[in-house]
């Protein structure tokens, strides 16, 4: 009897295991929505990074005012992965949310290649939502024949976020104005970095990555990866060249923590303090709060960065052509991007308004998490000096090729000249015909 029993127990165990796996496999299904019958509508909204709508309580507020609406948000941290998934869904024609976020680096591609895949917001009864925004923000999502494919949310004026506790430990000043003066140029930023590195604990680098510095520095120029005529100029553009050389110098001076951005290791480093400074577009404030958590409140501060300007990121909300509830989605978009909500988002989350009226209202906002830094003033000044960037269809791909190549420089000791060639090869691999 014994062998038989043993075999049966084993079989039972295997069966139980198989059953568990089946259950896990099934739990991801079920997207069917059965609304409409009772006038109730479930709006889906799919985003990347941290837009802050949920964190600021805006959905709850909207649902309270509109009892028939339920809002469901899904999000992906890494924009590159989000974009890829969105394209797959658009091509397949199914699975898109009622509202999809779009990053500024992708809007040129949407406007030029996929205008037929998104709803013209002027046709859904909310007028031109981008009327009250800074001019370039609205212009970037308008097609040649005047369709408005998205509503502008935030823009990404740049500054530098830094850890006052680590600065103190390394004997550096912690005063914002003093620091902003010391790093008024990127050379000054690198210089101060060397002073920091000389005294800091091993394992505490000056900044998170060369990629962060590169993106911030490139973002200060009007022409980056393509020119006004849509021609690719990344190979010769002075913006890219200078930012590349400075970032390579950062690595050569040993000032980078060599963390790839948007990875779990990078996220963890926010709370463990592996780096002392971070190139900080306004929306990064919300990201820092999310990653470093309440325990790190008061450790961070913000100062005007090198050049005191620049734009990194910023987003739009769009409604795919196949969305189930375009009318209700349009109402929600209009409300989310309205002045009052943009002010709230900046005050609580740091996402800098693209609405000029909202910009006028937030000038005196301070953030207690960042030692009461006058974020309103710092980012307003950065935004005021911001160039109207020329956007190309392949900005996202090109930017990634360069930041990946910088990753090679810092992590595999690749010579900057070789890595530069890799970046060019990678762009060709992605685009070349």
């Amino acid at each position: 009897m014994r062998p038989f029993r043993a075999r049966r127990t084993a079989a039972l165990g295997t069966a139980a295991l198989a059953a568990t796996m089946l259950l896990t496999a099934c739990s991801s299904g079920g997207t069917a929505s059965k609304d409409a019958a009772d006038g109730k509508v479930t709006l889906t909204i799919d985003l990347f990074g941290t837009f802050g709508f949920k964190e600021t309580g805006l959905y709850d507020e909207y649902m309270k005012a509109h009892p028939n609406i339920t809002i469901k948000q899904s999000d992906t941290q890494d924009e590159a992965q989000y974009w890829q998934a969105l394209q797959t869904k658009l091509a397949g024609g199914g699975g898109v949310a009622d509202i999809q976020g779009l990053e500024v680096g992708r809007v040129a591609s949407v406007v030029q290649k996929q205008a037929d895949k998104f709803t013209d917001l002027k046709t859904v009864g909310i007028g031109d939502v981008n009327d009250s925004l800074v001019e370039w923000k609205g212009a970037a999502v308008k097609t040649a024949d005047g369709k408005v494919l998205g509503a502008g949310t935030d823009i990404g004026p740049e500054a530098i976020c830094y850890r006052t506790d680590l600065f103190k430990a390394a004997g550096l000043p912690t005063d914002r104005i003093e620091l902003a003066a010391k790093w008024s140029t990127w050379q000054g930023y690198l210089e101060l970095g060397k002073q920091y590195a000389a005294k800091a604990q091993p394992g505490n680098a000056w900044t998170d990555s060369a990629a962060g510095m590169f993106t911030a520095e490139v973002g200060q120029q009007k022409v980056r990866y393509s020119d006004e005529g849509g021609k690719a100029v990344y190979e010769t553009s002075p913006a890219v060249k200078t930012a590349w050389e400075d970032s390579a110098k950062l690595v050569a001076d040993g000032l980078s923590a060599k963390l790839p951005q948007w990875t779990p290791e990078w996220n963890k480093a926010f709370s463990t303090g592996k780096f002392a400074t971070l190139s900080c577009p306004a929306w990064m404030i919300g990201y820092i709060k999310g990653q470093a958590g309440d325990a790190s409140a008061g450790k961070w501060d913000i100062a005007a960065g090198p050049g005191k300007t620049g734009n990194w990121g910023g987003s739009y909300l769009a409604i795919p052509r196949t969305a189930k509830h375009p009318k209700e989605a349009a109402e929600l978009i209009k409300w989310l991007t309205a002045k009052e909500q943009q002010v709230k988002l900046f005050t609580k989350q740091g996402s800098f308004p693209s609405s000029t009226a909202a910009q006028a209202e937030i000038k005196s906002v301070q953030d207690p998490y960042f030692n009461n830094a006058p974020i309103g003033q710092i980012f307003s000044e950065s935004a005021a000096a911001m160039p109207a960037q020329v956007l190309g269809t392949d900005d996202g791909v090109i930017g990634k090729a360069f930041t990946d190549a910088l990753g090679e420089v810092e992590r595999t000791n690749t010579a900057p000249a070789t890595a530069w060639q890799h970046a060019l090869d990678n762009v060709k691999k992605a685009n070349g015909n």
Partner: protein
């Protein structure tokens, strides 16, 4: 096979007894009986045509066009340009090389370990069934779950393996950015997942080897090692050929593990562990060039056919030289 065996009544007939006269009149039903097997196998072939053959042919069609995911309605005829471009692309050759090295790094240790484990499990052990089921556990784990755990273990700053290395006084390894380390990392996941599965196949093969062979070998004074070499291995040859073919195909198609290792289709910042499968995926779903991706898919398919034929030829030649 059972379907093609002769009808049951015939078996009951004694030799010499005349065939029943009724048989001559049953030609209609017999024709139906002859067709019935085709009916039984038809579902497979119908499904295969819909989900195997059609995609295969359609992929070939797509591979001759310029098709972009963002504007997938539009197809421009290119002829063989996607293929010629592919062979000029250094990233393709890089991916091919990576597929080969990762394939060797994962398949060879995997099959050797499986053989050893199967040999051990073939002994009468306490809790033998438990060990056999336990060996199948990694195979039953999803690629995603396994890879995520391994990716954590191989983390550069907070991974367990680097923590062990540093506590042993060694310097930590960048398991993501370094070429060999990342390829080893990916191979480790593959090996972990498939060793048990292959061990069970070997075990089944070993149990089919008659015990008398071992007895007589032992009587002739063969040691356990000699028994393994001269009885087990030759007896297992067909099984080994099977696992080698299957593992080679698996290694050529390797995809999930390197994709999830760092969570992107590039296969590392220098594409140092980008396999052919990832290269295809990157062309199709990161850069949205569906035509080029289809061309890669066909090249991979042909490559696998060639490898399978090569395997078969080698096996056949060895069989012949043995006789």
């Amino acid at each position: 096979m059972a379907i093609t065996s002769p009808p049951a009544p015939a078996a009951g007939r004694r030799p010499g007894q005349p065939a029943p006269a009724a048989a001559a009149r049953r030609s209609g039903p017999r024709a139906a009986g002859r067709l019935a097997p085709y009916g039984f196998v038809a579902p497979f072939f119908v499904l295969f045509a819909a989900f195997g053959l059609f995609p295969l042919v359609y992929t070939a069609y797509v591979s001759l066009h310029r098709v972009e995911l963002q504007t997938s309605e539009q197809m421009d005829w290119l002829g063989l340009q996607n293929y010629t471009r592919l062979f000029e692309d250094p990233f393709f050759w890089n991916a091919l090389g990576n597929t080969f090295t990762i394939g060797v790094l994962s398949t060879v240790p995997q099959l050797l370990m499986a053989l050893g484990l199967a040999h051990l499990l073939n002994y009468k052990l306490r809790g033998r069934t438990f060990f056999r089921v336990a060996m199948l556990m990694p195979y039953a784990t999803s690629v995603a779950a396994a890879t995520l755990v391994f990716a954590q273990l191989f983390g550069r700053d907070y991974g367990l393996i680097n923590w062990l290395l540093t506590s042993a006084g060694l310097s930590p390894v960048d398991w993501q950015a370094s070429t060999w380390a990342s390829q080893l990392g990916v191979s480790a996941i593959v090996t972990w997942r498939w060793t048990g599965y292959n061990a069970l196949i070997y075990l089944a093969g070993m149990q089919a080897i008659p015990g008398e062979l071992y007895e007589s070998a032992a009587m002739d004074g063969a040691s356990r090692w000699q028994q393994f070499r001269h009885v087990t291995i030759p007896g297992l040859r067909p099984t080994i050929v099977f696992t080698v073919v299957v593992s080679t195909i698996g290694a050529t198609q390797l995809f999930g593990e390197p994709l999830l290792y760092e969570g992107n289709a590039g296969g590392g910042i220098s594409h140092q562990y980008q396999t052919l499968g990832l290269y295809m995926y990157e062309q199709g779903w990161t850069f949205f060039h569906l035509g080029r991706a289809a061309a890669v898919a066909w090249v991979m398919f042909l490559l696998i056919v060639v490898l399978a034929l090569l395997n078969a030829a080698i096996a056949a030649r060895r069989n012949r030289t043995d006789r």
